[in-house]
């Protein structure tokens, strides 16, 4: 089935749902195809191919709402599936805020080429996939005899989907992604097996990074952890490397969601228009980034996307507001969750930020921990490097960084010029002053 046929089927599903008693309905039909290759011990360790089909059906009857999903897309099965979805919905409580978005939010959908599907995907051969995974692992194993375990990965995926709403929305999209990576464990002279990884995901084949360089970098990162130890608890300046930054940023974006605000579970309620971070913090939700991993012309509710400033020079400008919670709050919807997060980047590289910091902690990865959207408190395990006079002194681990969202972001002293483009969250490296660390 291609997207054109899928669109016809989705329209049929929506019509059937209305014929069978739904006031409104939304149908999302999709197919994903994924191929995974993993190499270990210079052998093909895992070869997995999969194709999945799915229908997600949302039903609205008398202000009651349910969603159902199935992978059985045969019309006779779907007829029963719709009957049962409607029957289930009728048992639920009426909720005046449950409805499809107003069609006015479908309007203004951009007609842009986002470059999220590489037609070269169709002809990308299995042998090439296996070769990449093999070469990554080979390269890593050839680095040192102290590499005790490693796995080279290659994965690609293709997604096709259509969306139809009974109140006038129809859309389709097709995307692909290509991922290469390595996980590596090295041994030191003591009883420790430091490990690290590097994974890169891109939209186009031409952008797949040199996989041998990925292998070399991951091995170097693992070796740089030999001798890791914790240091004294206390306040330190902190730099978070770009690829590691999502956990801190999620503690900030969680309280910006309308659901958390409406459910009184947000430390950022009533903070719109106020300063919550330093001048260095500007976050833009940009759905139109070419080759972007989060790029889209309409969101998961069918609303036309547009670029919007979320935080500007530390001032909270917008929340992530979906249709349902927007109605509950009496607010206009924006977008339920981020597309691509882009930042106002600085002019310094990570090395220059480290030199600027002089002494402090460079965080290269987080482990565990969590945050409390209601209070803003967070506490995460970390690994990284102790920095003195702009130089790495020794690796550190088994430490926590703790604080509160409302205290942390005003301490953002500088951001790097290094957006992490292998994620929809294109964060730079970030430098903070005076953060609480617990160790010895």
């Amino acid at each position: 089935m291609n997207n054109k046929e899928r669109l016809e089927l989705a329209k049929w599903v929506v019509q059937q749902a209305q014929k069978k008693g739904a006031d409104n309905a939304a149908a999302d039909l999709g197919k994903s195809r994924q191929i995974e290759v993993e190499f270990r011990n210079r052998k093909l360790d895992v070869l997995k191919e999969s194709t999945q089909n799915s229908l997600d059906l949302s039903i609205y009857v008398d202000k009651k709402y349910s969603s159902s999903s199935t992978s059985d897309l045969r019309k006779d099965s779907l007829g029963k599936f719709i009957d049962e979805a409607i029957a289930m919905t009728k048992y639920l409580g009426a909720d005046e805020y449950r409805s499809l978005p107003s069609p006015k939010y479908y309007e203004g959908r951009q007609d842009k080429e986002l470059y999220i599907f590489d037609s070269g995907y169709e002809s990308f051969g299995s042998e090439r996939r296996v070769q990449i995974a093999r070469e990554i692992e080979d390269t890593a194993l050839n680095q040192s005899e102290k590499v005790v375990a490693c796995a080279g990965y290659y994965t690609d995926a293709c997604y096709e989907s259509v969306k139809v709403h009974s109140n006038g929305f129809a859309g389709s999209r097709k995307s692909a992604s290509f991922s290469v990576g390595l996980e590596v464990t090295v041994c030191d002279d003591k009883e420790c097996r430091p490990n690290d990884f590097d994974f890169k995901t891109v939209r186009y084949i031409k952008d797949i990074p040199d996989h041998k360089k990925i292998a070399i970098a991951a091995v170097e990162r693992a070796f740089s952890k030999i001798g890791q130890k914790k240091i004294n608890s206390g306040k330190y300046d902190m730099i978070v490397e770009n690829r590691a930054g999502t956990r801190l940023l999620n503690a900030l974006s969680g309280p910006m969601r309308a659901r958390n605000i409406q459910q009184k579970n947000s430390c950022l309620e009533d903070k719109l228009g106020t300063k919550i971070g330093s001048d260095k913090l500007t976050i833009i939700d940009d759905p139109f980034v070419e080759y972007g991993l989060g790029s889209r012309l309409y969101d998961s509710e069918g609303m036309a996307t547009r670029k919007r400033i979320m935080i500007e020079k530390g001032v909270l400008k917008s929340y992530y507001v979906d249709n349902y919670y927007g109605k509950k709050l009496g607010w206009e919807p924006t977008i339920g969750s981020s597309t691509n997060s882009v930042y106002e980047y600085g002019d310094k590289s990570l090395d220059e930020l480290i030199a600027m910091m002089g002494t402090g902690i460079l965080i290269t990865g987080f482990i565990g921990g969590n945050s409390n959207a209601s209070s803003g408190d967070f506490s995460y395990g970390i690994v990284g490097q102790l920095i003195k006079d702009g130089k790495a002194v020794h690796p550190i681990n088994e430490m926590n960084v703790s604080g509160n969202v409302l205290d942390l972001w005003p301490k953002l002293a500088e951001v790097g010029n290094d957006p992490y483009t292998f994620s929809s969250n294109r964060r730079p490296s970030m430098y903070f002053k005076d953060v609480d660390f617990s160790g010895v």
Binding site: E49, S66, F81, A85, G93, N195, G439, V440
Partner: protein, 514 residues
């Protein structure tokens, strides 16, 4: 809803809303399935009919899977129906159902895995998937027809009523009852949510060594969330119930207790402070703190990490790793617990596996591949999220056996430390053994007494070190039936863990610098 309208619905609709999705997947004989008494499928014949296969078809698919020289293969048929309903702002206004049906085909050559699946259970589609999985090998082989013999299993999760026979109208009042209680018992409560989930999971596993085995796996959970406000300060917390149970598990008393404990756990946080940052003695409360075992020791004892040389426990079997009074097991057999399994997802019997016995590391948790590698019997830990995933070694219910100490004695022994009670999540970094778990609630211990509550701090340690540093173990083992969900290599698995009160002489606690 009145009984009358429920009956009316049954007559005009089907046996229940949850069942309502089932006819779609009864391909061979939908009417027979609908008419089957007391919950549908029970014997092998029913499972064959349910999935529209027979021994001959399975044998042909296996021949295709092994035609390039694979050592063995298995077929994992699965039909899972999951239902979720949500109460928010005092209304049950969201319900969702997911039906998944398919077969996963795995071919193993030495330690290597070829895997594919299809959502269309026809001989043609299965053979195509088998051909894909077969590509892990590159030789030629003619396979004798596999004769399948039914493997009998125990029943660790009998339920009175299968979830497919429970309508949504029966479930909704449970959520309302919890909510009604939560919103009335404390004026500081400002928002509540209740989430209810259940699933029916039917699996049929056929292996090329001639075993065929089936299993019905129920699962349910109720999750209550409370947000409260006092003097402008807001706190939230949650509690839950669940396990491999039927609806009979939820009694009026258990629901009321859930409501009360959720609110109590939330309002207690108004008194909470942050502990000082740094290393300290930590007493893990009986029960929930078993997450420490899961993260600090459990993952490192999964055989794949050891077979590949990634784990710090890779050369520790038979060695002393803890005090004599420390014994840790992974148990697939606890009746109705969330992590229990009659058989694992490779068709192996489950068991009580001793990971550490009297301080000595005994065995890893194995799937078939690692058991072959180590030349031991599989321990029944081969698990997968669904037919879309290959099996890998996973934990089930992981807990520490009782030790010689009294809880009061343990707390009394601590001058300044932390009493860790409930947790939300944890993580481990296998190679170095660093693990964390996030403390949602606990108390300070000052001069041998429990004092002020603490909350929202991460605890980080090193697995083998913490194992060595377990210096007192209580005699009050507690394991909750509902546990959590473990993630590994992109696959989720239901698990539980438990612990008696245990003192660890030093762990790093996230907090504020004094």
């Amino acid at each position: 809803m009145s009984e009358m309208s429920r009956r009316k619905f049954l007559k005009t609709g089907s046996k229940g809303i949850a069942l309502a999705t089932i006819p779609i997947i009864f391909k061979a004989n939908p009417l027979a399935a609908l008419m089957a008494p007391g919950g549908g499928i029970n014997g092998l014949k029913d499972y064959y009919e349910h999935f529209g296969v027979n021994e001959s078809i399975i044998s042909q698919v296996m021949a295709t899977a092994l035609e390039k020289g694979g050592d063995f293969c298995d077929l994992y048929f699965q039909n899972k129906i999951s239902n979720n309903i949500t109460l928010e702002d005092n209304i049950v206004s969201r319900a969702s159902t997911d039906v998944s049906l398919g077969v996963g085909i795995r071919v193993v050559r030495e330690n290597q895995t070829g895997y594919s699946f299809t959502e269309e259970i026809t001989p043609k589609a299965m053979k195509e998937a088998a051909k894909t999985a077969a590509n892990i090998a590159n030789g030629n082989k003619t396979i004798k027809s596999v004769e399948l013999k039914l493997h009998e299993t125990p029943s660790y999760y009998n339920v009175d009523t299968r979830w497919e026979d429970v309508g949504i109208d029966t479930k909704i009042p449970l959520l309302q009852k919890i909510n009604d209680k939560m919103v009335t018992i404390d004026k500081r409560v400002i928002k509540t949510q209740v989430y209810f989930g259940d699933s029916n999971d039917y699996v049929l596993i056929a292996t090329s060594d001639g075993r065929i085995v089936y299993d019905y796996r129920p699962q349910t959970r109720i999750f209550a969330v409370c947000n409260a406000e006092e003097n402008g300060r807001r706190e939230n917390n949650y509690d839950m119930l669940g396990g491999r149970m039927g609806i009979e598990y939820y009694t009026p008393e258990s629901l009321e207790n859930l409501a009360i404990s959720t609110v109590q756990k939330t309002v207690n946080l108004f008194e909470a402070v942050k502990p000082d940052a740094g290393e300290m003695e930590v007493v893990l409360a009986a029960g929930d703190a078993g997450i420490l075992l899961h993260e600090a020791i459990g993952h490192g004892m999964e055989a794949d990490f050891n077979r590949r040389g990634e784990s710090l426990f890779a050369d520790k079997v038979g060695k002393k790793v803890a005090e004599d009074f420390v014994s840790i097991v992974d148990d697939g057999t606890l009746p109705n617990y969330r992590g229990s399994l009659n058989i694992d997802d490779e068709g192996n019997d489950t068991e009580v596996t001793y990971l550490v016995e009297k301080g000595i590391l005994k065995t890893y948790m194995h799937d078939k591949i690692s058991a072959r590698h180590y030349e031991v019997k599989p321990t029944g830990n081969g698990r997968r999220e669904s037919f879309r995933h290959r099996p890998i070694p996973r934990m089930r219910n992981t807990y520490m056996l009782n030790g010689p100490h009294e809880k009061e004695e343990i707390i009394r022994s601590v001058k300044k430390g932390l009493y860790a009670e409930s947790f939300t999540n944890g993580q481990v970094n296998i190679g170095p053994g660093d693990f964390t778990f996030y403390l949602k609630t606990g108390r300070l211990i000052e001069d041998g007494k429990l004092t002020r509550p603490v909350k929202d701090v991460n605890i980080i340690g090193n697995g083998p070190e913490v194992l060595k540093n377990m210096v007192m173990v209580g005699n009050d083992l507690k394991i909750d039936t509902f546990g959590g969900t473990c993630g590994k290599e992109g696959q989720r698995a239901p698990v539980t863990d438990g612990l008696p009160t245990t003192k660890v002489s030093s762990i790093t606690v996230g907090g504020v610098s004094s």
